[in-house]
Symmetry: C2
Subunit: 568 residues, 2 copies
């Protein structure tokens, strides 16, 4: 198979591999929908039109054929499964290409982590492109598993699957001309530069964009998105599991600006991927809200391919890859058939074919903690303590001052007032670093929850009603080599191993989803009322989002960007 | 000056070089027009918005500010002047960037010719990007000055000013999978591939596009353009001096497809560039015909930059180059001020500032003919001859059969029936090759016209009423080292030296234009009634355009793609 064969098939001089007859093409290039046969050979669309014959011919009975969908920005690690399993979740939803930032695993394993993701995607059924993670670690007020400077990223700059530099989260650094950030931008200057600048505005935003940033997925209001779009940023509208910006941002979308807007999911948990979907879900919501289907489909395919200069993706025309979805009703937009590279990979929401055997990949251990020597006691040196206050459905927190519950000279969890002890244990280098604090909102009456998913450093976070439960949970995680645990006293109530960097399960996504649901149930039994306490906990250590957070180095006042004492 | 300075200016922490205040920005990204200050520093736009101060501040008094215009496809050689003079012609018209195919000089001088164009553009005021000429020579039925295969073009593939592969004119070769063409396409596979496939349709067109071609500038009808656009080709609407496709194609343009349409000029003579303009002219004509100004401006700037993946061009936003035009009335669209890289380069249709001193560049002689040994006599071997029949305002010709005027056993020009002798003299290698034929339509009652501009091989073409005039004209051209001549008997009536490859003058474009006008006047005095006999003659040797053409190897029947005898 080669270009020579494809041209022969395009000329009609040899039968094509496959002809999709009788469909109505959603031509995202010309903006028209019309009946045409689609001629596919050697993974590519080779022709549109009549008079061809194929080895295989499929009658689409008047259904609509749209390009395979593209997710402009997603952290696959948030699905809690590895790329092949993530692929099996999104392909039935019509997503055939993703642009991923392997930011979570890069914080744990550095380049080795990024290479793991690339290796796992190889020969898979999903087209996975990578943006090189730009901010590892997020700040110097944490200990991550790796530090990536421009010279470390250099080997990725000409990798065929690496499209550019991932979300530049150190937005003050970029706008202020931080040398390390500018070095990274220079390294990827002729590639694509993704942004991340929540609520940035005015002069600082101008500087951020002037540095070369090309996109933004953190907009939450139309006014914010409009300012950014006018400054030349492509707006990626995001609909993650927690960050749901689609409906608020849809009023931004207009015929005259929609070519500068794309769709992305950023972070989605298994249940949402399976039950709700991905980019297909966003297209459905947009159409239901009144967006023209052509525009909605473009934002989920063509616009993203253009933004990332992926010339063989995102549209159906000769020379493009035959990645496509078939839907009966453009308004429902439920993918009934999904082709990737001219091969039917999913039908009626289910993958076709067995899982391929996993490629063998060895990763080093990423949970390096001497559990026996941990001491969670907090010696009381004053009466008042800082407490991280959770806010429902937000990742920002309150910075509260509360009277400590002091027993025998030590500050302890106070379940009556829902002020629970919170520890962040460095897990990459066995440094013994241990950050201790208190958090309000988790509602545990007893026991502890713990996990190695804690953005972005992914140290081991544990919240508990008593020190024994916390130690039990930590020991269980160490034994598993990473994962999520719920413990009560000396008993482990539930566990979910995440052996891949402490972030991802090796199970099929359906099983991972069941395990995860059980973890949430078990937390509920201990008194937690959140829809997902593990996600909430995972953001309590992210010291770039206000107001008060806990890293392995201690409490961070994000507003002053400084480490602060627990007692005040 | 560096990115660090630019970011400081964007943050407002230092005065910017220049602030354009009080204008209305044509924001081609968001599709909006609104008042905003434009902050410029170190060649770039660094900010849009209020509260900045500048070393220099200009009040635009409510005028409109649009991005600098971009010509998607132009052969600069057709302006008959070198790149710096071409720049002085188009910059006052708001064209700040061109994508050029140095196809004419490449046929004469190969890579050396392309390098000449790049060198001549260096440090100039016009942004000139190059597409590597893909079809040198056009066919094997001619002798050109160079032959460029994939391996010859390889040094250009990573040149920072080379964006891809120029118009793939050997469209049957591409569609049929010619190995040499596919080698070139593979070499530039991750760059931009320009097309050229006049009237191609159906299966062959599908194959041509499937090979990777991305654009088309040869459309003459809406139906043709619609078929090509649907297959994924970006349509470059062309308005050259002879090929005027704009008005016929405007009905194609719709809000939902215009982002796949760009404007180009292809070939424009000096008079048209000076009097009419370039892309600005196309924008004016489009708006006058009812196209929304935003769409018209996008087709002349932003769309082209996106097509060629020029991320710092074609829009005004932080991080882009400060190339812009100021107009008082969006519907008139007459550029009053033109900035390139933040510097005012033209005002009220005139360049600001003197010509910079020319960079010294030595090119080898390109007119290698032993004039004394030429023999234009045509021994009559039959009564009927093939005659090339010109058609007004077209580059295609008739393939006529006429009775020859025979004198003393030789076929000669017949001024009464307007059948004139036509010779094509190989001029690159002194091979002595001489193609002889007859042409109808030039109307010379006496004398001869000759020139070294003859697409695409650019051999020396001469048409005359008698052999002596033809010899005089050829000798004068040899003496000048290339150019255009009109002779009568042993007298040279008018001459225009084109010392650069026999294609370009070294004079200022205004003087070149006057010389050229005088040449046309002189031809008229001899009986020619065409608006431009030199352009018409220059296409009489182009053996890839039907029906009958003459190269240095003889007459070519383009429909059978074979050399044929003069006598039948």
């Amino acid at each position: 198979m080669s270009i020579v064969d494809r041209l022969a098939a395009a000329r009609g001089e040899r039968p094509a591999d496959l002809i999709l007859r009788g469909g109505r093409l959603v031509n995202v290039i010309s903006g028209e929908i019309y009946p045409t046969d689609i001629v596919i050979h050697d993974r590519h669309v080779v022709a549109l039109g009549d008079g061809y014959s194929g080895e295989q011919e499929v009658d689409l009975l008047g259904k609509f054929v749209a390009p395979g969908l593209i997710d402009a920005h997603v952290h696959i690690e948030s699905s809690l499964v590895t790329p092949p399993e993530f692929a099996r979740a999104v392909l039935p939803h019509g997503v055939t290409t993703v642009i991923t930032d392997p930011h979570e695993i890069a914080n744990v394993l550095g380049l080795e982590g990024m290479r793991y993701m690339l290796e796992r995607a190889k020969h898979g059924q999903l087209n996975m492109f990578v943006m090189a993670s730009s901010c590892v670690p997020a700040t110097d007020m944490e200990t991550s598993g790796a530090r990536l400077e421009a010279e470390d990223l250099a080997p990725l700059a000409n990798h065929p699957w690496v499209l550019g530099l991932a979300e530049l989260m150190n937005y003050p650094g970029v706008a202020l001309g931080d040398e390390g950030m500018l070095d990274k931008i220079a390294l990827f200057g002729d590639k694509v530069l993704d942004g991340h600048a929540p609520a940035m505005s005015g002069k600082l935003l101008n500087a951020y964009v002037a540095a070369g940033v090309e996109s933004e997925h953190e907009c939450t209001t139309v006014a914010e998105a409009r300012e950014k779009l006018r400054l030349g940023l492509t707006v990626f509208i995001r609909e993650g599991s927690t960050t749901r910006n689609l409906k608020p941002l849809l009023p931004l979308v207009r015929p005259e600006n929609h070519s500068a807007i794309c769709f992305c999911t950023d972070d989605r948990i298994p249940a949402d991927l399976i039950d709700q979907g991905s980019i297909d879900y966003m297209i459905r919501v947009a159409i239901a809200a009144g967006v023209d289907p052509m525009m909605a489909i473009r934002m989920g395919s063509y616009n993203t391919a253009r933004h990332f200069r992926l010339k063989k993706y995102g549209a159906l025309a000769p020379g493009k890859y035959a990645d496509l979805v078939v839907v009966s009703d453009l308004r429902d937009f439920v993918p009934e058939q999904v082709y990737r590279g001219g091969v039917l990979v999913a039908r009626a929401g289910e993958m076709i074919g067995e899982r391929p055997p996993a490629r063998r990949l060895d990763l080093r251990s990423t949970v390096n903690i001497r559990a026996s020597s941990l001491d969670f006691r907090v010696k009381a040196v004053a009466e008042m303590i800082r407490v991280i206050g959770t806010i429902p459905h937000q990742v920002v927190t309150e910075h509260r001052l509360e009277r400590a519950k002091i027993v025998d000279g030590f500050a302890v969890s106070d379940v009556e007032r829902d002020i629970l002890k919170f520890a962040m244990i460095e897990r990459h280098r066995a440094s013994g670093n241990l950050g201790l604090g208190f958090v309000k909102g988790f509602g545990l009456r007893r026991g502890a929850i713990a996990g190695t998913v804690a953005h972005d450093h992914h140290n081991l976070a544990v919240i508990g009603a008593d020190d024994e439960s916390m130690k039990t949970a930590v020991a269980a995680i160490v034994e598993m080599g990473g994962g999520l645990v719920i413990a009560d006293g000396d008993s482990v109530l539930a566990r979910m191993p995440l052996p891949v960097a402490g972030l991802m399960s090796e199970l099929p996504i359906e099983e991972a989803r069941r395990q995860y649901d059980q973890m949430i149930q078990a937390a509920r039994a201990l008194g937690n009322q959140m829809s997902d306490p593990f996600i909430v906990m995972s953001f309590m250590g992210l010291e770039v989002i206000p107001k008060l957070k806990l890293t392995d180095l201690g409490l961070v006042d994000v507003e002053t960007f400084k480490l602060v004492e627990l007692f005040v």
